[in-house]
Point group: C2
Chain length 437, copies 2
């Protein structure tokens, strides 16, 4: 007789399959996910951190159980092709560890939750007990993990920059303000200025953390707080180095998902995007291509409208079979003061966005590294250097050529999973109307 | 002839040592860290993300260079025991990529920066260019990395919870308030309530992110924003499971530091603490032990004074050779509403702090998982359930026995490195007087 804990769930199942025939008693912790009365026998499906486990028990035992009870069960394992994981546990003993106070308000054990987004978000701690809903956030974990592991291997240092600051990175009105011991303070919109300052120290840095945008948009793709995957790297030879680094990350992350999150991908029916080669197209050329192909007049030459982004995505999918496309050389007017202008045509910048299936998931580019040039650019824009003194110090005392990018984690997950609303891939979204849970 | 990039710095140095005698030309990117004029020849030390590299060049070449210039250099490699890394580059070509506007205000190339903490913090982007200062944050990276990697292997899921909320996790006055589109909002003091809610979903979760405390203390060990390493796990059999998990993390992290951050440990002269076995002592017993051994009267039976923490650390070091000690069973009065009381004596809780060399670096414990018990405790404390509705939902619909802990990253780093002030191990500290840089 052998006891194993839930920590070894997957291994146990594997070992049970290999040792079919030999009697093994296993002990497993889990939550009662579903109870199915089949007449003489009953099925009790347990939910554990690694997946579902089908248990067979008597009617008598099943009667004592309720959905969402936490239990420890003991039983013998047998192979059963129709059960999740290919094995089944014949219960010999059950211990109830905790009991819910009320029955579930949602049918979480169905494959797909049949309820509105609002209801799912209001009952977040319950709706995520659904395996499909839960799988989305395992995939999200894989993306963050892939980002960090890839960058560690590329010589990046992880940093933790403050979220409370004296001034927002890029100025503007979309900043949350707070009272900091009777001083004015803001929540950082981005780790931009800090990560640049740290390039002079560590050469390559990254951060995965929250950013805050007080934007009054209430759209399907905006959040007022989101997780940003940021990197910044020195000694780039051109801004194409940044796109190469992002491509490398995406390739690595897709391999990681394929290798370690295969169950979740299958459950969600996700087809991984192509990342072998990501096409580049200039901003102005992309606008023309869309205008030509879809007969859509160019209205705003300085920015991409959401519909244009969608059409660029569609065009590159239809004509090149590409899931991703880098849009390069955004107009200087629309980029922040620290963006490096293209020396061959300073109306444009050495910058890019990455579109994924027609939605922007990354903004990046080369930055100005020369102190005089940076101060000149600030003056040219009639901006004040007030609040930028510490940032400028890094440049005053020397900075290598550098650039970086930021990826919106929830958006990247949303596009990967083919969701229509970014709130579907946000654990606890914050928007104009939602501060809870 | 062979060109290599700085990405391969360490590998290059290794390969050069092995191929000594064979002429190799390498290309390296770096920042001019120091220039030493030795008469006919000059030494130029480059700083790269992997360390320092000594270059030998003519007086003529050295004259063109200034500290903190970013350069690409070419040269042949030879073995030189006295140089950092055991090799030396004889420069054949130098390309200047960027120039500082002004000479450095601090002598960053000295082994130890000879300046005040205030000056170091004001000039953060410069002071961290010192190799010793920089090494502190590489060690910090290793701790976070160790935390995540260990927990992934233990079946934990990484989560990202919101930092803007409607109500603080534990109530109290020490909460930063902000205006959120004309609603009242706060910055979360801890991911406590969110991570508990997610135990019902993922069973084991962790988060590494910022937390905000509007405490008016200005001490050497307090920050108003810090990075918290949080975990929460279901199906614990006792709160000792939590201490076992933390011990496992510490053991793993020390091995990781030893294996991958050896250069930084040596530079900082760090002796890694013992983590094989961490002693436990009850809160009340620890107070008595200190009172007995050091003749210090017990003034506050409900809390540990900072001096008592130091003395407990000293006692366990002197009598048991222990760097760490778990203090268990804190009085219920001093623990939050969700703490599980000890059934055998409800004046105390199934909770603990971890002291590291006399300073608290972790607070943790078992939580109440039964809905009725939780609601009862809230009522008993004359607290309102207002703002806790979503949290209580998780319990209403069933939660397994669980518990968790939070580790202050900057404090853990501080104690590991033997620093006197937590600001020494905080990239950009936030305190009563400091909002910048």
């Amino acid at each position: 007789m052998e006891y194993v804990s839930a920590a070894l769930w997957q291994e146990t199942m594997e070992s049970c399959k290999q040792n079919a025939g030999k009697e093994q008693v296993v002990r497993v912790n889990g939550t009662v996910h579903a109870i199915r009365n089949m007449g003489e026998v009953c099925f009790v499906v347990l939910r554990g951190r690694e997946g579902l486990l089908q248990c067979v028990c008597s009617k008598q035992t099943a009667k004592e159980l309720k959905e969402e009870m936490a239990v420890t069960v003991w039983g013998t394992v047998s192979q059963e092709e129709r059960a999740p994981g290919g094995v089944e546990l014949h219960l010999t003993q059950v211990q109830i560890l905790s009991r819910p106070a009320e029955p579930l308000p949602l049918a979480v054990s169905k494959k797909k939750l049949n309820t509105s987004l609002e209801a799912k978000l209001n009952l977040r701690s319950v709706s995520l007990r659904n395996m499909t809903e839960r799988a989305k956030f395992k995939i999200q974990e894989g993306l963050v993990r892939g980002f960090r592991d890839y960058l560690y291997a590329q010589g990046f240092t992880e940093i933790h920059t403050p979220k409370i600051g004296a001034k927002g990175a890029e100025g503007g009105a979309n900043i949350f303000k707070l009272d900091y011991f009777h001083q004015k303070a803001v929540l950082e919109q981005s780790p931009q200025l800090y990560k640049q300052m740290m390039v002079g120290v560590f050469e390559r840095v990254f951060e995965t953390g929250p950013v805050f945008r007080a934007e009054k948009h209430n759209t399907k793709r905006h959040l007022n707080e989101y997780t940003s995957l940021d990197l910044e790297m020195g000694f780039i030879e051109s801004f194409e180095d940044l796109m190469a680094m992002e491509t490398g990350f995406l390739q690595y992350a897709m391999e990681l998902l394929q290798g370690s999150y295969g169950g979740e991908l299958a459950l969600l029916g996700v087809e991984l995007p192509k990342t072998e080669e990501i096409p580049l197209v200039r901003f102005d050329r992309a606008k023309e291509m869309v205008a030509e192909k879809y007969g859509r007049p160019i209205r705003n030459p300085y920015d991409l409208e959401p519909e244009e982004e969608q059409l660029i995505g569609r065009l590159f999918w239809e004509d090149y079979g590409a899931d991703f496309v880098f849009i390069t050389h955004y107009p200087s007017k629309k980029r922040p003061f620290y963006a490096m202008d293209d020396p061959s045509d300073p109306r444009f910048t050495l910058s890019f966005d990455l579109l994924f299936r027609g939605l922007e998931v990354t903004t990046g580019g080369q930055r100005i590294h020369d102190y005089e040039q940076l101060v000149g650019k600030i003056a040219e824009r009639n901006m004040s250097t007030e609040g930028l003194e510490y940032y400028l110090d890094a440049f005053r005392y020397g900075m290598p050529p550098h650039g970086g990018l930021g990826i919106g984690l929830e958006r990247l997950t949303m596009q990967l999973l083919g969701e229509e609303n970014v709130r579907e891939t946000t654990l606890f979204p914050r928007d104009l109307n939602r501060l809870e849970p």
